[in-house]
């Protein structure tokens, strides 16, 4: 069973985000980078499926050279191989452009099952996995909290408003992760040592036979024109009062008369 995890490196969720001078990107100098948390769930789930069903776990990333660190971490967790597609021509790709590159690589690695994050915690896009599934013509299941592989099929619990829906798809298929699916393991020291010897291939668009004019900024159909900070919430009012009852009575009055929300 060949499992491929689509993994993106994103800024640590604690990072202070600063807007770059072009107003369309962020400053990357002081950013600490991590594996997108939803992709970390994907790595963990891939490892569990492999442990149960046998097979191989490949980590696939399109990104700059620094993303190697994240792939190494996934290899240290237990993945078998890594592929990084690093090509300046991919910069500024939108979801479809990104998917084209990932699909070209997926056709080389082979796959029975693709696991991705539901969204990357940088652009909060929710789009690349569906675009990958569409370009490959395979089934997709979104926001999965539980899955089971048997008899060439995968059965997933997909979260929707108010509950879950159990969905079955024939392999090959793609699913995306939802919080609750698992608790990702930490990379152990022996794992980190072993990871250094695991295959990690770097490729560019020419290696994959992807036409650079099909990806990147020039081709993107959804483009960021302007980034700005949301208006600051005006500093809140701490409600003073002699007693708890006095404070809460005042709060209720404010919610009724000032905010008019109740």
């Amino acid at each position: 069973m060949d499992i491929v995890v689509l993994l993106k490196q994103v800024p640590d969720t604690e990072t202070l985000i600063q807007i770059a001078d072009d107003k369309a990107s962020i400053r990357t100098e002081d950013v600490k980078w991590i594996i997108n948390p939803y992709d970390e769930f994907a790595v963990e789930e891939a490892l569990r499926i492999k442990e149960k069903n046998g097979g191989k776990v490949t980590i696939l990333t399109m990104g700059p050279a620094r993303a190697v660190e994240s792939i190494r971490t996934a290899l240290a967790m237990g993945a078998d191989e890594g592929v990084l597609i690093d090509d300046p021509a991919t910069e500024g790709s939108d979801a479809l452009g990104t998917a084209r590159v990932l699909v070209a690589a997926l056709k080389e690695t082979g796959f029975d099952l693709i696991i991705a994050g539901q969204r990357a915690l940088d652009n909060d896009g929710y789009q690349v996995p569906a675009a990958v599934a569409e370009l490959l013509g395979i089934g997709q299941v979104s926001m999965v909290v539980k899955d089971e592989v048997a008899d060439g099929k995968i059965r997933c619990e997909s979260t929707v408003e108010g509950g879950t829906v159990v969905i079955e798809a024939g392999l090959p298929a793609l699913f995306t992760t939802q919080k609750g699916i698992n608790e990702p393991r930490y990379a152990s020291l022996p794992g980190i040592m072993k990871a250094k010897k695991k295959p990690l291939t770097k490729k560019n668009l020419a290696d994959l036979g992807v036409d650079p004019s099909e990806v990147g900024e020039a081709q993107a159909k959804c483009r960021v024109k302007n980034l700005f900070f949301p208006p600051e919430r005006s500093p809140g009012k701490i409600i003073e009062g002699e007693t708890v009852g006095a404070k809460t009575a005042e709060l209720v009055r404010l919610l009724r008369e000032e905010a008019k929300v109740i």
Binding site: S142, K221, R233, K237
Partner: protein, 321 residues
């Protein structure tokens, strides 16, 4: 030439999602600016009866695709059918709600159409011919204005953000033939809570508890939520402790919510939590630590033990009802 605004109005088991009304209302606003028509699409099985409702929010025409194969949402059947409808109608703008289903569907459809999609948008504006959508990125720490190329321009709107406006009009309902085609996934079972429970993403009032709850007993919060007609939320700490289900988690790895009123009880206000509730209209924080960062993001704060303050608020509300 591509013209008009097409809206996919999501229904579940014969009830429209609130975001469907929001999308039709927003579509109406954009169409009025352009002087164009609004067409809404309803897909399902046995949905003729409800379709006419969309006229009330400004749909000039309502297309109904009624087919047993559309009874349960599947990515493939819905994408196939909506793709055909887009090709037949050639709209300039296509709007959907960014619900769980809407995200899954819009992303697949955008890839098939080969057009740009602005996901989870909180504002739309027309700048001449250009359509600019505003969407939160980096967990809402930053807002991005994005421009779309390719026709139709596809926008999925965040639930609970756009205003619902009723108009005094009726839309023409038209049944259409659909071809759901081959489907690669099968719905085996649906495990849904009573329809009466409002999902966090659609709730007007949310009362959330954090580690300060000290344990799985959320009854003080439940009572407050009950008098306010609200829904319960939780911080990740409360979820990780096993006090609440994952589906209650608000934040960067949980749900993104936009209620009118968000009451955070015993929640410190970590940046990942703020990412989920930062776009609430009013935030109330109850925390015994006056230094808790949540107070900087709250409109009203009460520095007290939540087990004293929350029941007192409930009592006060009951008194005035």
């Amino acid at each position: 030439m591509a013209q008009g605004v097409l809206i996919f109005a999501e229904q579940v088991d014969g009830n429209f999602r609130k975001v469907a009304y929001e999308a039709v209302s927003e579509g109406r606003r954009q169409a009025d600016t352009l002087g164009e028509a609004v067409t809404a699409v309803v897909l399902g099985s046995g949905v003729d009866g409800i379709a006419g409702e969309l006229g009330k929010y400004g749909a000039d025409k309502i297309l109904v695709g009624d087919d047993p194969a559309l009874a349960d949402y599947t990515t493939d059947a819905y994408t196939n059918v909506l793709f055909d409808i887009v090709k037949d109608n050639d709209p300039g703008i296509l709007l959907l709600g960014a619900s769980s289903q809407g995200k899954d569907l819009s992303a697949r459809l955008a890839a098939r159409l080969g057009v740009g999609l602005a996901m989870d948008c909180i504002a739309l504006k027309l700048d001449g011919e250009k359509l600019i959508a505003t969407r939160p990125v980096y967990g809402g720490k930053v807002l991005a204005e994005v421009a779309l190329e390719g026709i139709p321009r596809m926008i999925a709107i965040r639930p609970n953000v756009m205003e619902i406006v009723e108009v005094t009009k009726a839309g023409d309902v038209e049944k259409i033939d659909v071809n759901p085609g081959a489907v690669k996934t099968r719905v085996m079972e649906k495990r849904l809570e009573a329809a009466s429970k409002i999902d966090l993403t659609e709730a007007d009032v949310i009362v959330s508890g954090g580690r300060g709850m000290g344990g799985p007993d959320f009854s003080v919060i439940e009572e407050l939520a009950e008098v306010l007609g609200g829904t319960i939320g939780a911080s990740r700490s409360a979820v990780d402790e096993g006090w609440r289900p994952h589906s209650d988690q608000v934040g960067q790895t949980g749900k993104v919510v936009s209620p009118n009123l968000y009451i955070a009880c015993g929640i410190s206000g970590a940046i990942q939590h703020l990412a989920g509730m930062g776009s609430s209209k009013y935030v109330v924080a109850i925390n015994k630590d006056p230094e808790a960062p949540i107070f900087k993001k709250a409109d009203y704060g009460i520095v007290e033990d939540l087990f004293d303050a929350v029941p007192a608020i409930t009592a006060e509300l009951k008194k005035r009802l």
